[in-house]
Symmetry: C2
Subunit: 336 residues, 2 copies
DNA sequence: CGTCGAATGTTAATCGTTTAATGATGCGAG
DNA sequence: CTCGCATCATTAAACGATTAACATTCGACG
């Protein structure tokens, strides 16, 4: 592969001159032309690795996510990648598949690669986040979807409280007084917030929360189905159910279809996250849609700013509004 | 950030010795110990960029895909990433969003980054693939999902003909004689093969193909819905419909739900690709499931082999069997 | 014409590693 | 005691770019 040295030799110029030309300095037209010719003839391709070594900027960003198999993560990642690419940065993907050790291992991995910054989707677990403190001094870090206690850095997330509040309030407005909520694990971040929104909506409308209507699982599809059944099969079942993540929503719909429960006549159902599914079901699913594109774009843009040295408002906490998409699965509470 | 030089200074050894230690050579225990201590104290982190420059191996693989928003691509990508990570390689994602210029631009981009290999999902278009010939000489290239004429390289794909054949044969076995097929654009690779499978199944069973039952769109969700309607609204409509990609399948199901057509009584429906959807619909969707995990794993492993210099069987063309998942949307042809 | 300053080029060191070639050290055998 | 051979370490030159600091060219102007 041709190097700058080769171009220099071919044109009779020095490597410094060629390098400058390549970096946008203007030369005498004669020389510029000669270099252009040499590039074409020798099929010169610049070596970003060498450049990175010298400048200590890799123009690569590490994105650390639980998995690409979940549309929530892959949609955000997609939008991140697109935004970074527009700034000429490449995206190094690392999934950690919710494995404990993998997360810190991969942060090391990324740091070794001299990434210029990291975007991390932490899953809330009791994990040792010292490593993130190390990141702190090294490269900018943006956390997506939730903050981590003790780590001072930018965070981009959706307004979980507001999202849940909005959905539950819609249900209350339709006359529902017994609203079940399907939540995720205690040790994750968002469930508590979504529950808080649920609570606030009740409070605002002077309703008490029946703890039996608050059920928790592991945010998986099967847990969605199982918890739905638990709610429905309890004494004094809810007239509406709010599922608070994508997987449980799919699972719950599965359960609903399985039992042939007709929505919204016999039950009102509010889901979470707006991917392919919600437009396909009949009746069309009412969901809280997190602004995935925007989350991705925002975190990438924020990181770019930090990488460029713009530390204004650090640490910034961006909370993006979710959309409440009322479609066909919620309706007035069924007459007894 | 501490460098090898610092470790050397701290321990009184030479950089060469430290480097060797770091690369697994054995030293006198005394020295090894000293280095380990120094690493801890100085918080040494190896610099993969410098290493790459010297060794001309980046241990990074570029993955070029149309988009991460499509579950087919993101599932394969996920599996690629996982497999590569196991070999200590990082994955650089580049989406080209089906834009013509972006594809070649991004290949350049990846080559500049000195990736050790490229996995590419080409969309079949009349695009100038000279650039891929350049790749040829530089780093190994694995094509996923389809080959490109004139480019001699490894290809991993699913058995499109067999997949379609299998699905259509199931329908024929149920007595269907008029089977509609929803295809993608002419200039993509797989539609022709899927049609071929459809044709072969007819041929085998002595059936003629009615060209009016073969409809083409752009493989989008709306095209799925529209083409379904076109088939159903034609004179002498089909008793079964086979949709040949994920988007059109979702779109067609949307249309089916919209019209309240009951499956499989009034219509048998065979879809393509097995993502979240198919398990959620009631009745459960019968689909041809491409082995996405396996496609990802296989291409990554094959690329790793090439990167390691194992050129056995080059160029290799791997065709992976799709699974025919017969579930509830197909049934015997309706009695008139 | 000589001089000066802007514009254009060059020299050479450097980024943090790796690695051939070479050097030192120690140990057993004769 | 010395030779020879492993074994362990070191020297120093790369890898391909960038970039201060310095050198040259050239035209304008007094």
């Amino acid at each position: 592969m041709a190097t700058i040295k080769d171009l220099a030799a071919r044109t009779g110029l020095s490597t410094a001159t060629v390098s400058k030309y390549l970096n946008g300095f203007t030369l005498k037209e004669r020389n510029a032309l000669a270099i252009r010719e040499a590039i074409a003839e020798l099929k010169y391709r610049k070596n970003d690795i060498a450049r990175s070594l010298k400048t200590s900027k890799s123009r690569a960003i590490g994105v650390l996510i639980p998995t690409l198999e979940n549309p929530f993560y892959s949609a955000i990642t997609s939008s991140i990648e697109r935004t970074l690419m527009e700034s000429g940065f490449s995206t190094i993907i690392c999934s950690y598949y919710s494995e404990l050790h993998a997360e810190r291992e991969k942060i090391e991995f990324l740091l070794n690669k001299m990434v210029d910054g990291i975007i991390h989707f932490p899953l809330n677990r009791t994990v040792d986040y010292d490593i993130l403190k190390q990141v702190d001094g090294t490269v900018p870090l943006v956390l997506v979807d939730r903050p981590i206690e003790g780590i001072e850095c930018d965070v981009v997330m959706s307004d979980n409280v507001g999202a849940a509040f909005g959905a539950v309030e819609r249900l209350i407005a339709l006359g529902h007084r017994r609203i079940g909520i399907i939540l995720g694990p205690d040790d994750q971040y968002s469930p508590a917030l979504r529950l808080e929104g649920y609570r606030l909506a009740h409070e605002k409308h002077g309703l008490a929360v029946d703890p039996r209507l608050v059920v928790r699982g592991d945010y998986s599809m099967t847990s969605g189905r199982d918890l739905l059944f638990r709610l429905l099969d309890g004494e004094n079942p809810p007239t509406a159910v709010f599922s608070t993540n994508y997987e449980t929503t799919v699972g719950a719909m599965l359960g609903i279809n399985e039992r042939g429960i007709s929505l919204p006549e016999r039950l009102s159902f509010f889901g979470f996250d707006d991917f392919a599914l919600s437009t396909v079901f009949r009746p069309r699913l009412s969901v809280v849609a997190q602004p995935v594109r925007l989350i991705g774009k925002t975190s990438a843009e924020l990181l770019m700013r930090r990488v460029r040295g713009d530390l204004a408002d650090f640490p910034l906490r961006v909370s993006l509004d979710a959309e409440i998409l009322v479609r066909e699965t919620i309706g007035p509470v069924a007459a007894e």
